[in-house]
Symmetry: C2
Subunit: 456 residues, 2 copies
């Protein structure tokens, strides 16, 4: 489950050999550790050079506000001489652009900072969503930000990333989810999120303690006996939640181990059973008093070329990966217990976005998850809830460790960070979407893929 | 500009060597030639196994209707014994699915046909767009089709492709653009379109002669002196249009050559000039009596990592690739000459979708094009017009021939058809979107990329 190549090429002799041969040299990613600073250095906030610049003032004030970060977070408003500074993050506030010409100034300002970005640094753009109701020039400028940020993400090295926050027109910069998204994308928690955009579509959400945002919340995680599910359970517990871990009876021992480790409870359950939703609610409420967060992580693969597909393999994958989620969500949304700004987070996959050879059944199920979260999010909004999906790319797990060597190596390196992610990277994204402050992010799909090339 | 590798591995000895070494063996793609049959064999129409199946009846009737194809087009409604048949196309009508479970029957029916698909065969799904207003199960089923078709596209070999037609809820199967899209995707004209969806969003559009759909129309193509632009001009002329070819004065001789070849007229023009739109309209109307189709193909690259970007390189690319288009469109949409179901087609790029290392300026401009076509399409709809973008992947041109060998080889092979496209492939997509029958396809982006891996 480990990628020994990364430590090899970051060592003295291995590094020299790799450099000489022109081999990819993935960096060790900066990941969250308790007590570490939010960013790898001071933060620079750059704004529009054509608008009023007011929006970048607001963002700078947000960064400096009480409780946003440690009191010693340095925030700058102009590019300094590059000798003495190593930026932890550069935030590019582009909410005021109205024509593609307006991108020139900020892009060149950003350009002048890239050599001074610290290892594990962050570029975050903040802009508005392009829609068909914009003037064509406005939509062109807004969508242009996307091309810029994805290209910058492909250029950065040293474990640095570039991501975007996109606000719909009726949401302003003071929405709780703007701050939450900015914090997440600037922090080490988003280590494997690269080249992506997070859309903030409403002012819903409430700020909370940044260190233990899930205090007082009860979470359920399916498929939690091992791998990504276990990491999600541990991360939600770290963030303060009481956690119910769910898995099939055959995984009972591993499941009990996870439950003990995080002081949660275990529920052995076949999620495809007609009454699975009722059993989940009953367990959570009777043992923990409520149910607030449900993470649909359980999933299976039964890979075959479609030409060789069997009804058994097709139906099993669709039953576990999507039909069970639909049935459980239906039960949850009819339950009076699931009404306190509840959260549904479903695991999708880059295969569900781009398709994958030999995975028609899996890709159909994961595309189904992507289709599901939009209307589910709309229904959940009635009780200040959200439904979102997280789409992992190549993650180092027991499952991927069994892939043929060459396939695994190609999948690892075909991303901007030139390596696979870890289960914790997916778990951090889930925990972020589960947090009270992320209530304005709804019906979306967040890729955790290191900007994998795999696309549409 | 040619990919000698394709003919090598399709030859006797070269083919054996490639097979032994496990090298990619891209097929020669089936491309349009006058008089050739629409498909490479009979067409099979499969429908929902859970709904009424009425929708697949309608599609079968459409295929058999007068004028849709040659009178000898064979249409079948059930999978035959595989001994004697080699399907030219399999059309999977999934408009009636309401739950992911409903995908099982049609997917397995499709599975049973794949070994009988002719070289250059086609799989086309027809389904409805998943929206946030659907029931979650309906949206899951509809989006699930996308995962299925993209995976099937990655599985097909022999120059076969899989693509989808997606109808919004208020559009029925009798809309002119459904037939037009089906014909395009089944035909050899879509050789390099793979793993994509075409959304039909309205019943606009009118059917026309399939062989010369642009008879009586006047088209303008910018950047038409060579490469993709010249191919577009030739293809629009082949389809019946009178064509104005536009390029910079420095390319005047090549431009005149193209104009002579297609019996069109040449206009030497800097498209970034403030009055470029007026000059284009004036030329087209005075020489040809009207202006109906404008293809924004002119584009430049000035590649540099953003860290090394100069204002000159940034601004030049934005000025030509997006600002000029915005200004010309503005002039066109205010002109009384551009009101007869007019068409705007802009060249985007997969770089504008996914970003590209060293192309922040180019990617921002091409993302800008993608942002622009949605509101422009909405404005154009007032006069039964449309605005769409075509996003080429790796196309064999003089420009790509100058790429370093290894970069070019990787770009060529990282697609489902394992080869670059030709300028004609882009031109066919443009001609399709320019046709009167495509009037229901508006504000969209059509990738012509052989299902390149390059994604988001």
């Amino acid at each position: 489950m480990s990628d020994g190549y990364i430590s090899l090429v970051n060592g003295g002799i291995g590094g020299k050999v790799a450099k000489t041969l022109g081999l990819p040299r993935p960096s060790v990613l900066r990941r969250y550790t308790e007590g570490a600073t939010l960013t790898a250095g001071p933060v620079l906030v750059l704004g529009s050079t054509t608008g009023t610049g007011e929006d970048s003032d607001i963002v700078a004030q947000l960064l400096l506000s009480t409780g946003f970060a440690a009191p010693d977070l340095e925030v700058h408003r102009a590019v300094l001489g590059t000798e003495h500074v190593s930026w932890g993050a550069v935030v590019l506030v582009l909410t005021e652009v109205e024509h593609p010409d307006d991108l020139s100034g900020p892009a060149l300002d950003l350009a002048s900072t890239l050599r001074s970005l610290a290892p594990g640094g962050r570029v975050v753009t903040i802009s508005r969503a392009a829609t068909e109701d914009d003037a064509p020039a406005v939509a062109a400028a807004r969508q242009g930000v996307d091309g810029l940020l994805r290209s910058v993400a492909k250029e950065l090295r040293g474990g640095s990333t570039a991501n975007g926050i996109v606000l719909t027109d009726d949401v302003d910069l003071s929405a709780p989810s703007v701050g939450a998204a900015l914090r997440f994308l600037m922090s080490a928690r988003s280590a494997y999120v690269d080249g992506q955009s997070l859309t903030v579509g409403s002012t819903a959400g409430s700020s909370s303690d940044w260190d233990r945002p899930l205090d007082g919340r009860v979470a359920v995680v399916t498929g939690a006996a091992r791998g990504i599910g276990a990491a999600i359970a541990e991360t939600l517990a770290r963030d303060g939640a009481r956690v119910v871990v769910v898995d099939v009876p055959a995984a009972g021992e591993a499941l009990a181990g996870v439950a003990n480790r995080i002081k949660g409870t275990a529920l052995q359950l076949d999620i495809t059973a007609p009454d699975a939703g009722e059993k989940i609610i009953e367990h959570a409420v009777s043992r923990h008093g409520s149910i607030d967060i449900v993470v649909h992580n359980a999933g299976i693969t039964r890979d075959k070329l479609l030409a060789n597909m069997t009804p058994e393999k097709w139906d099993a994958v669709l039953a576990v990966n999507i039909a069970a989620q639909l049935r459980i969500n239906d039960t949850l949304m009819r339950s009076p217990a699931f009404v306190d700004a509840p959260r549904i987070i479903s695991l999708a996959s880059t295969s569900g976005i781009a398709g994958n050879r030999g995975q028609t059944n899996y890709a159909a199920s994961k595309a189904g998850v992507i289709g599901m979260v939009r209307p589910t999010g709309k229904l959940m909004a009635k009780v200040d809830g959200t439904a979102n999906a997280v789409a992992p790319g190549f993650i180092e797990t027991e499952m991927t460790a069994r892939m043929p060597f060459a396939t695994r190596e190609v999948a690892r390196r075909l991303s901007s960070v030139q390596q696979g992610g870890l289960p914790i990277d997916v778990a951090e994204a889930v925990a972020f979407l589960a947090s009270p402050a992320a209530g304005g992010i709804n019906g979306t799909v967040l890729r955790v893929c290191g900007q994998s090339m795999v696309g549409a």
